[in-house]
Symmetry: D2
Subunit: 152 residues, 4 copies
Amino acid sequence: MPRDAPPLPPREAFTVTRLIRFSHTDPAGIVYFPEYFDMCNAVIEDWLAEEMKVDYPTLTLKERLGTPVVHAECDFYVPSRWGDRIQLSLLVERLGRASLAYRIIGHSGGIVRLAARIVVAFIHLDSGKTLPLPEPFRQKVEAYRVKTGALP
Amino acid sequence: MPRDAPPLPPREAFTVTRLIRFSHTDPAGIVYFPEYFDMCNAVIEDWLAEEMKVDYPTLTLKERLGTPVVHAECDFYVPSRWGDRIQLSLLVERLGRASLAYRIIGHSGGIVRLAARIVVAFIHLDSGKTLPLPEPFRQKVEAYRVKTGALP
Amino acid sequence: MPRDAPPLPPREAFTVTRLIRFSHTDPAGIVYFPEYFDMCNAVIEDWLAEEMKVDYPTLTLKERLGTPVVHAECDFYVPSRWGDRIQLSLLVERLGRASLAYRIIGHSGGIVRLAARIVVAFIHLDSGKTLPLPEPFRQKVEAYRVKTGALP
Amino acid sequence: MPRDAPPLPPREAFTVTRLIRFSHTDPAGIVYFPEYFDMCNAVIEDWLAEEMKVDYPTLTLKERLGTPVVHAECDFYVPSRWGDRIQLSLLVERLGRASLAYRIIGHSGGIVRLAARIVVAFIHLDSGKTLPLPEPFRQKVEAYRVKTGALP
């Protein structure tokens, strides 16, 4: 396991597999790092749709609930190359009144390759004002946090 | 100035202006956050070429000196929209034996919009082993740090 | 069916389903057109791996067989939006001595949304010279063409 | 000059210079072809702003005039690599009632590297119906066509 890498996510975590494509990689043969942030965003989309059963496009475009990213970070431990398959697992690290901190762990064969943190605010797209998370959604997120255990 | 935002960079900092394009922005009308990491990478490229006078493509492709990103983070304070022009200023926050930590501040009209930190390692692309920074380059980076002052 | 759109691909065509993501779409709410070319490239990758059983990364990076795109075009008939699922089907329109012309049809619910043509050359990456398609690969492509019928 | 390449654009054509960046290139060391379509879109943006003096963001986002791409194609003659600088020149090939066909020629050192054609429709973003080009804009486009000569 790479030095300093966080532990593998629990088995209960929502996990997707991603194939590393030609287009993700750079002249040095490894994934160009902004692509990982794009992959993290896609994992959040998939988690909202499949695990939280939220219709994210409708929520954003029709109900004008925006979720701008206010902080994003990632540690890269092991590079990935064209043709690799990596697992990306999502945990909810913090559940604020009008914000959510996601933890996304990328791993393969039991080795952590990257670990990201993405913090989003909940705002009304027209006014720009923060919005508390809708209560039914908050309850589902809480249940997901219980299911996936406390974060280390 | 947004709450918690870092101060504006000193005037001596290497600064480029970027036009926010249609393709940078998302259905909510603001820059899609991974695009900022791509912009930060381009600022590092420009700083290496124009301020450090380093031939980065040759260094990477011919001399096989790789600079993989080991950590990237960004705080987003004020969104940017299609047609905006922002300034991106680069500081060198830390100069390790075989690593560099860049600080990149995005601002417009005296207001900080984003603040990123990008840490790269220096490795040999074939062996994957870390390499100390070449001495002439280290000296130029040190001089740049002196010129741009200590970081807050 | 949109005016001038080509017919739907035959059932035997290699077909993948793609979810349109937030990151594919633009401030007008529809897919930003260069993203479709990226999706087409991914379909070709998947077809090579899954239908032709070719190890494309090894072929390119180890055996130095490059497949640069020499021509790419696409007609866009019906826009796609965040949350849509589209099918992308691949046909081989022309099989040259050292080139391949792919036809990729994007459709949803029996309606053609886009139709692309991607022509790649086969070259040796180091010399830049064209290479005839390897014979076993040519035979598999021919068999695929027979299976999917003549193109209209 | 590469076989079959179109002639260089006239000197009067609107031309921008682009630096090929690390992020544009792929594991084979050359520009990943969808990036060229993104560059072409940026050239159209720059031409509208700088040559036609059109406020494109306002036109799209406030006045809801959309310009979806209905056809895009590109021939690639000479690859570009990280660190190259290429010129991209824009011509207006056809001026329809509610559409525009752009011709974009990429060249360097007097050699044509790529030649694209991008056709956009003019529509109202809310109704989706085609809109004739606004008359003052049409006149400026006509004047630009006269200035840059008839296309070959």
